[in-house]
Amino acid sequence: MQEALFWIVSFIAIACALGVVLSRNPVHSVLFLILTFFAISGHYILMNAQFLAIVNIIVYAGAIMVLFLFVIMLMNLNADAEPQKSRLVQFAGALSGGALFLVLLAAMRTAALSPLEKTTNDIGLVANLGKVLFTDYVLPFEISSVLFLSAMIGAIIIGKKGDAPNREVASGEQLDGMDNLVNTEQLSTGANANLPNAFTEADELEAIS
């Protein structure tokens, strides 16, 4: 029974992950991504990690997905707006992605993983997780607060209005709502203009890896 469930969940996960990459419409991609997260949560439950499964759904399928949808709808991305990639880049991407796939395939083929011993049934419960987090892993747990603090500071620095691009300092005018609107629009178009470029480079990076 459990094995059958594993195969079903794995099939859903892989099929949906392919759907994320292959669908032309970004909104469909996001919906497929939600399904993928649900399938992965299913895996967690099969591994007896209930807490992880719930958190995965709440954080990823809930909060982060809403953010994704917001961004996609704000930027008005659709199939037509997809940046045109040259043949060469497509070829390089396919070649290097295939090479990475082969390496990983070779790694998995001969991998001899020692089977996990299931000691207790309640290993994934919140109580145990909390205990481990505050004893064995207390340093990573506390240190990640520095990480989040710097991310929060970054969000405030970047998001705070008052020094948006193209601000007319010389005129000394108080920025009213209209001005701000114009400014944000300019900012978003600027980001849009840069995006295709950045993505191509990310692709090149992928090509290299």
Binding site: A107, T110, A111, L139, G154, L205
Partner: protein
């Protein structure tokens, strides 16, 4: 204020390095394993940060409205550096890399009035997140093969049967580290980001933060993967050769000194990769001395650059006539970057090359490195040529104060000191 705090931090680190019995100590359930060398490295890098803050504190204040936040972010990166210099599990490595990187993404985009700065930040963020993903994948594969996160407990079978899982993991980790230190095929972000970021932050990103990533690199690959160096050596050799080639050759064609410095930082990363390739005591020492010499000279160069209005080579025309002290300090930094004897850069290159020669299996790389160092002299000396032999009146943002002049001269004298007495830097390494 920030300078005072940094002074305090340097003092504490020096105290740790000099007096506390750190060797072999494991902290927080084996999460950290600080040693005397790590503490000394921390001391040196905190000292460099202190110098950096004193040199470009005024330029940092001019970047935007959130000065306190910028300094806070710099302190956070120092926290990441301390983790990276003493981590003992891959978990801490990941956290350290992230704590080091996220402030960099923000600092790159600190100048919000400039679209280029925002572009740099976005590009860096997207690609950096991608490389973090690769690092995580590598860590996962390595964990799968080893069954533990603790790098001091990695054990590799001595027989021919080497786990391909571990090999794939190591490969992915090499790629991720290569991105962080801007090694050749993963260097594409470097020129755009350093060019777009505000000059004082580009200076910090190119020096202390890059060196911290290098130290983490060497810590993993020497201490725990050193016994299987024959498996990863060739990959890193090819990366090193490509880094040296691309960094130096592309730098020749640059018109802007800021972009030239970005490519030069790629080229210098090639020499620092020599230290990763030399799995011996000398390799680690050479990294530390290279870190100090390179950081001092590059921070100095960027500080000079931040004073000038025109970032092209022509912006330096006639600097020797109008600001002889500034020009003199710049010349010392350039000498050091090019590796002229009596400066820190020469000693650093000397140590790097001799470490690789001790390793003994990459003589072609040594020769190639020396050839590329000769190429680098050309583009570095164009700055000196412009300063001393071309007529012109360079435009400064504001006149140099005496403090600025003396600080720059002090930095230049430190560069010379490292070149004359490298054993001072290596006192505890």
């Amino acid at each position: 204020m920030a300078a005072l705090l940094l002074l305090l931090l340097t003092g504490v680190n020096a105290y740790e390095a000099l007096t506390l019995p750190l060797e072999g100590k494991r902290l927080f359930n084996d999460m950290l394993m600080p040693g005397q060398v790590s503490a000394w490295f921390n001391t040196l890098m905190t000292g460099c940060t202190l110098l950096y803050v004193m040199l470009s504190g005024r330029d940092i204040r001019k970047v935007g409205n959130h000065v306190a936040d910028y300094f806070a972010l710099i302190f956070f990166t120092l926290c990441g550096l301390y983790i990276l210099s003493s981590y003992n599990t891959l978990l801490m490595l990941f956290l350290g890399i992230e704590i080091l990187s996220i402030p960099q993404y923000i600092l790159a985009g600190a100048d919000k009035r400039n679209l280029k700065s925002s572009e740099a930040s976005l590009k860096y963020f997207l690609m950096g997140s991608f490389s973090t993903g690769i690092l995580l994948m590598g860590i996962a594969l390595l964990y799968g093969a080893m069954g533990t996160f603790h790098i001091s407990e990695f054990s590799f079978p001595t027989t021919e049967l080497f786990s391909p899982l571990a090999l794939a993991g190591i490969l992915l980790i090499v790629v991720a580290f290569g991105f962080k230190v801007s090694a050749a095929p993963m260097h594409l972000w470097t020129p755009d980001v350093y060019d777009g970021a505000p000059t004082p932050f580009a200076s910090y990103m190119a020096t202390v933060m890059k060196v911290a990533a290098f130290y983490a690199f060497i810590r993993l690959f020497h201490n725990s993967l050193g016994s299987v160096s024959n498996k990863w050596m060739l990959v890193i050799m090819i990366i090193t050769a490509a880094t040296l080639l691309i960094g130096n050759i592309t730098a020749v064609f640059q018109q802007s000194v800021k972009r030239m410095l970005a490519y030069s930082s790629i080229a210098q990363a090639g020499f620092m990769l020599f230290a990763v390739l030399s799995v011996n005591e000398l390799g680690r020492q050479s990294l530390i001395i290279y870190a100090v010499a390179y950081t001092l000279a590059t921070v100095g160069m960027f500080t000079v650059l931040a004073k000038l209005k025109d970032y092209t080579y022509d912006g330096f025309n006639g600097l020797a006539k109008s600001n002889p002290m500034l020009a003199f300090a710049t010349a010392i930094f350039i000498f050091s970057l090019a590796g002229i004897p009596l400066t820190g850069g020469f000693m650093a290159k000397y140590y790097a090359v001799s470490a690789l020669m001790t390793q003994g299996n990459a003589m072609w790389l040594v020769l190639f490195g020396l050839l590329m160092a000769a190429v680098s002299v050309y583009y570095y000396f164009r700055v000196i040529w412009a300063m001393y032999f071309k007529p012109g009146t360079p435009q400064l943002h504001e006149p140099m104060t005496t403090t600025d002049n003396w600080l720059l001269l002090f930095t230049a004298s430190l560069v010379i000191l490292v070149g004359v007495a490298p054993q001072l830097v290596l006192a505890f390494a």
